[in-house]
């Protein structure tokens, strides 16, 4: 999907600079990563589950895939910013990590979003933790054409990164299920009205499976191309554990880590995706 120079991934210990609660179960992590090679929108890192300590911990065992929200490059390192939600054992330990502690970082990994087409209207639809996956895309394509960002969450407290998107200057609309922020309802309802406007547009989406599936259907019904960024459990992130298989409409599987996370929506067999 498009031609770009993909940065060569590194494996390094990053130092936690900041790890703070942002409301609800959401947190923002800033990690000082030496030798960071840069990244492209849609790529991710694997993070050790919780701080590395003097004794190597084996439980929980596996690193966690995390979208790269954005980075702040400096001389010889970058501050890598991650927005995440405390949902399970790994992210609970991550939330307890203190400034000065180390996390193992492997990345950047995965194929980026396809290169944007200048002048094209872009509709970015994201919900839940999927919001973190599209921020860099919004930053990259903003100014190339009309860019509209539609964010969804259950409640205002669950909503990630709204102020960051607003600061980009993109057209931003928000929906929450309880109406505590923005429009009451689902973000897909915002997409329906956006798609009702005439003219070409490309839809990009990341979020819970039912949301992405609905976005893909709406885009297809409206004759607009749609790119989905899939989230999945994975043990490695670089194509060897084969744990993150996503079923394809054409049969067989793609690996979310190696062949994605960005896919053409029509390539995915949604009914077979867990």
């Amino acid at each position: 999907m498009g031609d770009f120079e993909i940065p060569r991934p590194i494996r390094v210990d990053g130092e936690v600079v900041e790890n703070r609660a942002e409301g609800g179960e959401n947190l923002r992590l800033r990690l000082r990563v030496p030798g960071w090679p840069g990244f492209l929108p849609g790529q991710f890192v694997m993070l050790s589950p919780g701080a590395r300590t003097s004794v190597e911990r084996t439980d929980p065992l596996l690193p966690r895939p995390m979208a790269i929200f954005r980075t702040h490059p400096e001389a010889g390192f970058a501050l890598v910013e991650i927005l995440y939600r405390r949902v399970g054992r790994g992210t609970r330990l991550l939330a307890e990590t203190l400034a000065g502690q180390a996390l193992r970082v492997v990345g950047p990994l995965g194929r980026p979003f396809p290169a944007p087409v200048p002048g094209e209207r872009a509709l970015l639809v994201a919900g839940g933790t999927g919001i973190a996956s599209v921020y860099q895309l919004a930053a990259r394509i903003q100014g190339l054409g009309r860019t509209e960002v539609l964010l969804g969450a259950r409640t205002a407290a669950d909503l990630m990164g709204e102020a960051d998107f607003a600061a980009l200057g993109v057209a931003l609309r928000v929906a929450t299920e309880d109406g505590s922020r923005g429009v009451r309802g689902l973000v897909t309802e915002l997409l329906e009205s956006a798609l009702a406007e005439p003219g070409g547009a490309r839809v990009y989406t990341c979020g819970p499976k039912p949301m992405m599936e609905r976005v893909a259907r709406l885009a297809a019904a409206g004759g607009r191309p749609c790119v989905v960024s899939l989230e999945n459990h994975m043990a490695c992130g670089f194509g060897v554990c084969l744990g993150c298989a996503a079923p394809l409409a054409a049969g067989g599987y793609a690996l979310v880590c190696r062949d994605g996370p960005a896919f053409e929506a029509g390539a995915i067999a949604w009914e077979a995706l867990p």
Partner: protein
């Protein structure tokens, strides 16, 4: 301290620059980890198991985390033996020792894959994965029945002149007996253990965590079981043993060498740290030097036993 340490080992005719291999199914076809690990730092790698035809594998969910380990049920997903020979092998850097792994659902097909690999440049040996369900035995693993295992080793031994390792299933009551079967049928060496058959469930959904219901447990959780089996197997046969199971550090690897392994394979730990196999190779050398060994090969079986247990 004047003589340099000799790190080389001979694994049933496969000459390795050091005793650290990576385990099949955890290292792809070799190049996937090249960004993180200089492959010349390790003894070699065992490639993802190959079948005659490309196979797609199981539906998701395929993996799940468990205490100090993980479950997987990937099944037979691989590119097939022809694509391995045509596309994967030529892409590898020079000087990397490659062991091809073979699994299939019938003995004749195992032998056919071995035949296709004969004479292929770059393939230093074959590892036969005996943990695959045997279709004709109703899905029981080849390595769980001595007579089926014997037939498998016999057929694959005849099919290739290459050094032949047999990777044993741990899901048996007498691993020493299985090791002797392999030796009796002419295997060059044995690798053990493969993943331990296991199950986990999600109580909220009341479903198994894997689509396949059962999976293979790997990671540090199985290491003491693997070490026990390597000890028992290596005392039962004269052919070399390659230790596999939860190895994540040089200290772990040395334990397997002391208990009788000639070499080791690093598996699940590659997922956490794709450079770990190189670190383990360096760490074994440092251990050997620190303990006054001139050859890493001399660590094999160097376990000090309490006198009442001495053979």
């Amino acid at each position: 301290m004047s003589e340099p340490l000799d790190t080389r080992v001979d694994l049933g005719g496969i000459r390795l620059r050091n005793p650290v291999l990576t385990a099949s199914g955890t290292f792809g076809y070799g190049n996937e980890l090249a960004a993180f690990l200089d492959l010349s730092r390790i003894g070699g790698f065992v490639a993802k198991s190959l079948t005659l035809e490309p196979r797609a594998g199981n539906p998701p969910p395929r993996i799940a985390e468990t205490p100090s380990g993980m479950l997987n049920a990937i099944s037979l997903e691989n590119v097939g033996v022809e694509a391995f020979i045509r596309d994967k092998l030529p892409a590898l850097p020079e000087g990397v020792t490659v062991i091809a792994s073979v699994f299939e659902t019938e003995i004749e097909r195992y032998a056919e894959v071995c035949k296709r690999l004969a004479g292929v440049p770059r393939v230093a040996g074959i590892e036969v994965n005996a943990s695959c369900p045997h279709v004709k035995s109703g899905g029981i693993e080849f390595g769980q029945q001595p007579q089926v295992l014997a037939a498998l080793v016999r057929a694959t031994r005849r099919a290739t002149p290459l050094p032949l390792l047999v990777k044993l299933s741990p899901n048996v009551t007498d691993i020493a007996a299985m090791a002797r079967v392999c030796e009796g049928e002419g295997a060059s060496g044995i690798s053990l253990i493969n993943a331990v058959q296991a199950l986990d469930v999600d109580v909220e959904t009341r479903r198994p965590v894997l689509s396949n219901l059962l999976g293979g447990l790997s990671g540090p959780a199985i290491r003491p079981i693997a070490l026990r089996m390597v000890w028992q197997a290596s005392r039962a046969v004269r052919i070399p043993v390659c230790g596999v199971g939860g190895i994540a550090s040089a200290e772990d690897a040395v334990k397997f060498l002391l208990c009788g392994a000639t070499a080791v394979q690093v598996g699940t730990a590659n997922y956490l740290n794709p450079a770990v196999a190189g670190e383990i190779a360096d760490g074994i050398a440092a251990y050997a030097a620190r303990h006054g060994f001139r050859r890493v090969a001399d660590l094999r079986g160097a376990l000090e036993l309490p006198s009442r247990l001495d053979p």
